[in-house]
Structures are given as structure tokens and as C-alpha cells.
Symmetry: C2
Subunit: 442 residues, 2 copies
């Protein structure tokens, strides 16, 4: 026997890095494919930028937390870092390739990003983001903001996790309200508190705002505004009637009204979107429509798809004005949460449709069957090892392969194949055409 | 006007990192999808391991060049590095998840790997590898080695770059010959020279071998062996007749004979594979069948798909014996070379099938058309901006979108749509059904 070369290295993936078993990986990939297909359905083109960027590019804007989390390293003379989102690489890309691109530039990007967060259940240091953005050259029509919910609707309908609600607000309306009410200089802090209303409830938000010195009539008007309820049209009517004479506010409300109208034309059912004045989505970046998406049965998962309209994608890299609107799905975290709450279940999902088992010494007939099936676009595995037939059935079952086709001397003599349904254990003799038809149905 | 926030950061992607324009990206993604589809056709399951690994895992075996090229960095207390291939992560994964996996474990992996090579045209520091491996638990039948050329054949047939030849050799035969001929201790050096025969020619190889002290009868027998020519069966017959009484050599030749037989059963035409005794594929790793794939019209591109049989996947991480066989396509470099030699051409390839142009103030009819088309799985973009119609046609043309559907008041009145073929400039009025049929054909 050879001497062991084994060295004492942990073989577990690093903490915070998702690593899946095959059935889970297939499920994950199916979700990723569904998202990609839906993005392509709306005419977005793919973009795949490098994972490594100059640290200076990524840090141009990044502050506090991000800078601590970033994976940064030196290679030769280069100060490098791993991207922590897909938006900054997009901004750099559009700045660099501006003259080669056609605007509006509609791109999707599905890729891994990196954040060295503290170890915490369900938080990943390497995770997939699935982004779309529509970037205009100088300007971008408001109606693009209405297409985004239509994309979210199509995507989550196809993902099929149950009912969901796309929440829509407008930052112009929100900012306008604050501006009108006075505490414009504290707007950031107030928005941050409002963003938490789903998580911590109105009473806590009231307390926090009071702590920040927002009180009396101003406080009540903010909470009253956030608490406006009703159908989408009723909410918009109430907003129009509010005694707030402020240009930004009025503009924001009219944008909401128009976006709502177009969302309907684009086929999103009324129950799947909701004008909700409590969502704000972060601080400075968004400047118009903002979106969050909640699973109706699982609000504790939080928003599964968020984004919004921004005035300027790439101000750190170019002097051009590049307004845009976009959304992102954090797929790795979403997958973890859906599995954790048993909303999805890897089970035995396979891409392989049939396994051919050679049951004779002359391998020509079974190999030719596999070749013929593959030429008919049937995903086919051949079981090549020597093993008892029950062990082979078990192998197919564990992999989730629905059918096995047995090719032995009897079958060859009779000009047929024995096709076994792994779930029902039924076994029948079939011609090639029957075999093909059964597999395709199954 | 706002003050500019632009800072002076280069926006070009780092040297050695591929970044594509949209039409190129679509072409690249199509190639990647074709490879994936072909791997799935043969019953392989997907695996997507982290890009970041413990440096100790990656360096367990790596020597000289690799260690210099590796991207390695500290994060907190962790000594980390970016994977430089997909094989080491597979070895770690199989060692870690051994008891949850079903063997033979047939996995494909398509992902980015990192090597900080010197800047050189066509060499990339970040590049995609597209790998398949079949891993056995303790043993793995020889016939698996015959399935690999069938996968290569199916993949490159689908990729459609013209004719290609899969070259097959066997390391047991090669090693056996050297062993028989004497200079077994110099085998590595000799194999390295033989590997270069396609690049530098026989005369150079002869000189190099002579330098290494291989001469006389031994040198002639090595070159004679490498120069055996003929059909696959003729080559095998000549090998069998060689006056070499060595067990390893005989075993290797019989493996070649059996693999060749099964390759035929699996539907690979004779002209697409060739027993070629000059290929060796590196040094220690491979222990049986080895593969290279050459484009017939473009031998200068070198091997576009290589791999082989190995005795032990994961000896540094586990004491289990895990034999396997696999191949890899270096997609990023291949894409570069195919583009460079104009074998492929991005042109204006689009995934978007039609663009809807609203030509009226009421947007309901055009938006509803887009929704209806998308529900029929037609990839549909809507042109939302205000622009002259010729500019919009130009936009569609630049993106390679084959059709535009114009919806104006006339069309609504007549209950039809104006469908323009961007290539031919033909414009016709059609019903929804006609529109759908035309787009689907196109």
C-alpha cells in the first residue's frame, strides 16, 4: 500500500460560505435559472464583470461598515478587492464603455459578491445577487418605474413560493413631506426609523422619533402619513387631499399615481402590489419610486426583492448624468431562509431523466440506447459499475432519477427495453418509441 | 448644478480580466449554456463550491508556479486564497461530504478560477473552467473512460466551431514503454518533451531528449512508438505487435483497445477520435486514459478540451481511494482565441425577440401587447423613451432585436399591429396571432 499523503486540513467549507449537496444545488440552480429567464423575458441583456476590482473603485463611496467587511488584498503593485455588490461594477462598466453601449441600457447580472460579515446564522460572506437595472443617458422615462413591479411579479409568480405583495413608495413624496414639516436636516435619521416600522412596530418608531426630537404636530403628521390605508387608489386620493403644499411632495404623489396606472396595464393584479408609505429603502441613493417585496405567508423573511429609482448611477466615475431604476434579489440568503422555513424542499430533484442499466456482457445494445436517447435530448446516465440490480435501483432513487431502462439479452432478443418507474416500482417492456414517450411525459 | 463628485479612478477592468460588451456577453453565455446542457445530457449534477478556500487546502499539493500565481490574503484570523482550479475544491468537497454522496459521483462545475499570471495577450487572471468528473468509491469501471470522448463529441458538435479531433492516449502504455526501455527515473522529463511534439516538432523533441541523455536504440524506440500512424485499429494492432514485454504497457494497450471499442458504441464517428501516442497531459496526476481535443482547421489554438483518468482524487484530504476521470474546458481563453481568429463573431446576437414601440399617448394598448407577448414566453422589450422612430429602429438594430411592433392609434382602430422586420425593413400589419407566429419563426 502507498503511504498516506493526507495532511491535517479542515475540509469543511469556511464559515459563512454556502455549500450545497447535489439535490439542493439543483434546486438552487433552478431558482437562479427561473430568475434569469424572467429577466430575459423583459428584454434585459446579460453582464458579467470581474469579481476582483481595484480597491479604489469599490471604496470611492463606501463608508464605515462596508469598508470593514470588504475583502481587500495586495497582488503585485495592485490594491485589489472583491466586489461587495453588482451596482458599483455596473457604474464603473457604464462609465468605461459608455460610447459602446446603447441607451437605455437594460442589463441583468447574476453573480457572487463578498462581504466579510460577522458569523451569524443565515448571513453569508459569499452570496449571489440577481440584479436588473435600466440606465438612461441623461434622462429615463418614469414609466420604466412601472415595468419593475411587472418584472418582480413575473419572477415571483414563476418561482412559486406562494402569494406575495410588491410594496411601492416614492422618495420624493416622503422627502417632500419632511421638507414641508420642517425637520429636513434630520430627514436621514427619520427615514431610517420609518424603514423599521415593519420590524419594530409603530410604537417603537414613535419613541425613536421622539428621542430624535421629532414631536407634537410634526410627529403626528409623519405617523398619520405613514398610516394612510386603503386600496391603492384610495391611498393616492388621500395623499392628494393631504394639506401639504410642497412641490416635491405633489410630484412624488403624481409619480405614484402614474406608476400605479401603468403597473395595471402591464398585467400585475391589484392584490400583488400596494402603495405603502412606510417603506423608504436606505438613505441617499434612491430618489423616486422604491420597492420592497414581501411573502404574504412569511413576512418574517423580510423583503425578498428590493430596489428603486436613482438620479445618478456613476457620479464617482463619470460626469455624465446616468439616472436609473433597478432591483436586486439576494438569492443565497433567500434560499437559506426558504429552506429553513421549509417553504422549499430539495427532496430528490434530478435533471437526469433516465438511467440505462447494461445487463449483459456485450455492451453495444445498452450504449447505443443511451446514445439514441441523448440524441433525442433526453438527459441519460449509464450505470457502468458492476453491482446488484437492487443496489442500482437504490442509486437511481437517491439521485431522484425517475426511470431506469434495463437492457439485457432477453430484451435484445425481443427487440424491446424493460422500463422501470422508480417511484411506483412498475416495470414494463416497451419499444424505443414507447420508452421515449413515457420518459418525456414523466 | 451639483458639484462633481468624480474622483480620478481608472474605470477600465484590470489587466488580465475579461470584460465583454453585451453582444459578446450573449455569445459567451450561449457557449457556456451549450456546454452545461451537454454535460447535463450525460447525467451530471451541478456543483458550485465557494471561490474562497483556506489557503492550506489549495496549497496542500500546489508547487512552484501555482504558489506564485495564487491570490492569497488574510481576513481576520483566516489565511485565505481564491481557487485556481475546480479540481481541488472537488477533492475537498468529496472528502467532506463523502457519506452524503452517491457513487459514482458525476458532477459538473462551471465557474471562475483565479491565477495571477504575468500579463500576456490571451492569458487571463480570472477565467471560467467548465469541468466534469466521474468519481468512484474505491474503483471505477474502465468504460467511463469511453464516455468522456462521447461527451466531448456532443459538446463540440453543439458548439459548432467546425471539425475537431479527440486525441486519446494511455499513460500506462506510455509509462510502461519507458519502464521497459530503461530510463524510468527520467520518465517525467521525457513525457514533458513528448507533450511538446505538436508544438515544436519531432526534430526538436529528438534534440531535447538527446540533451537529457536519451539516445541510441532507446531514443529511436521512443520516437518510433510516438510515430506509429494509421487508423485507430491499425495503431492498436501495431502496438500489440511491438516487441515490448511489459505488463503495464500491455495493460495500457488493452485499455486503449477497449475504450476505442466503446467510444464507437457511444456514437462518436471514427473521424472525430484518434489514438495518438504523442499526447501525455502533464506529469503525475493522470494514470490511464488521457484526452486532448484539437480543432482541425485551427491546430494553433492548441487543445480546447483536455483531461484524463486518475487513481486518486483527494489523497491530501482523505485516506479513501477515489479514482476518477474528467475533462476541463478553459472557456475564457477559448472564447478569446475563437474571437481573435474570427472563428466566432458576436455580431448582433440578441435574446430579445421583439421590441414594442408605443406610438400613442394612451399607453394601455402597447403595454397590454407586451404583457401578452411575455405571457407567451416571447422575450419582449418596450421602448419607453421619447424619440424619433428612426432613432428607435437604430436602437433595435444595434441591439440585434429582429422585430419591432408599433402600436399607434391607427393600429388600435384597425385592431392590428404594425410589425417591422429590422433586417429587411419590411413592415406589415398583422393580428396578434400572426405577430406571434412571425416572431416565433424568426
Amino acid at each position: 500500500m502507498k503511504e498516506s499523503k493526507k495532511v491535517n486540513i479542515p475540509t469543511k467549507a469556511l464559515a459563512g460560505f454556502m455549500e450545497l449537496l447535489p439535490a439542493e444545488q439543483i434546486l438552487f440552480d433552478n431558482m437562479k435559472d427561473t430568475i434569469q429567464q424572467s429577466y430575459e423575458r423583459f428584454g434585459f441583456v446579460p453582464l458579467d464583470t470581474p469579481v476582483i476590482e481595484r480597491a479604489a473603485v469599490l471604496l470611492a463611496k463606501a463608508g464605515g461598515e462596508t469598508e470593514k467587511q470588504i475583502y481587500r488584498f495586495q497582488k503585485g503593485d495592485n490594491d485589489l478587492a472583491l466586489r461587495f455588490d453588482l451596482t458599483i461594477p455596473l457604474a464603473r462598466y457604464v462609465s468605461e464603455h459608455f460610447s459602446d453601449l446603447t441607451f437605455p441600457f437594460r442589463r441583468y447580472a447574476i453573480g457572487k459578491v463578498y462581504r466579510g460579515e460577522r458569523n451569524q446564522r443565515g448571513r453569508y460572506k459569499e452570496f449571489y445577487q440577481c440584479d436588473i437595472d435600466i440606465i438612461g443617458n441623461g434622462k429615463l422615462a418614469l414609466i420604466n418605474d412601472a415595468e419593475i413591479p411587472s418584472i418582480i411579479y413575473t419572477t415571483f409568480k414563476a418561482l412559486d413560493f406562494g402569494e406575495f405583495t410588491i410594496k411601492i413608495n416614492n422618495r420624493k413624496a416622503l422627502n417632500g413631506l419632511f421638507d414641508f414639516l420642517g425637520p429636513a436636516d434630520r430627514a436621514s435619521g427619520i427615514l431610517r426609523e420609518i424603514d423599521k416600522i415593519e420590524k419594530i412596530g409603530e410604537e417603537k418608531v414613535r419613541q425613536e422619533l421622539t428621542k430624535q426630537g421629532v414631536e407634537g404636530d410634526v410627529l403626528e403628521r409623519i405617523l398619520g402619513f405613514i398610516n394612510i390605508k386603503g386600496t391603492n387608489d384610495e391611498v393616492i386620493q388621500q395623499l392628494r387631499k393631504l394639506d401639504i403644499d410642497h412641490e416635491g411632495f405633489r410630484l412624488g404623489v403624481e409619480e405614484l399615481a402614474e406608476v400605479t396606472k401603468y403597473i395595471r396595464y402591464l398585467g400585475v393584479p391589484e392584490k400583488n402590489f400596494k402603495v405603502d408609505l412606510s417603506i423608504a429603502r436606505g438613505l441617499d441613493y434612491y430618489t423616486g419610486t422604491v420597492y420592497e417585496t414581501m411573502l404574504d405567508e412569511h413576512p418574517e423573511v423580510g423583503s425578498v426583492c428590493s430596489g428603486g429609482r436613482y438620479d445618478n448611477l456613476a457620479e464617482y466615475y463619470t460626469n455624465r448624468q446616468l439616472p436609473g431604476v433597478g432591483i436586486s434579489i439576494g438569492l443565497t440568503r433567500l434560499f437559506f431562509q426558504l429552506q429553513d422555513k421549509k417553504i422549499i424542499n430539495a427532496g430528490a430533484s434530478a435533471k437526469t431523466q433516465v438511467m440505462v442499466i447494461p445487463f449483459m456482457d456485450d455492451l453495444q445494445p445498452p450504449l447505443e440506447l443511451a446514445d439514441r436517447l441523448r440524441k433525442e435530448n433526453v438527459n441519460t446516465e449509464i450505470y457502468f459499475e458492476k453491482a446488484k440490480v437492487l443496489k442500482i435501483f437504490k442509486y437511481a432513487e437517491k439521485l431522484g432519477i425517475p426511470y431506469v431502462a434495463i437492457v439485457g439479452e432477453d430484451e435484445v432478443k425481443e427487440g424491446c427495453y424493460s422500463l422501470k418507474n422508480i417511484a411506483t416500482r412498475d416495470q414494463v417492456k416497451v419499444t424505443f418509441e414507447e420508452l421515449l414517450a413515457t420518459i418525456r411525459k414523466g
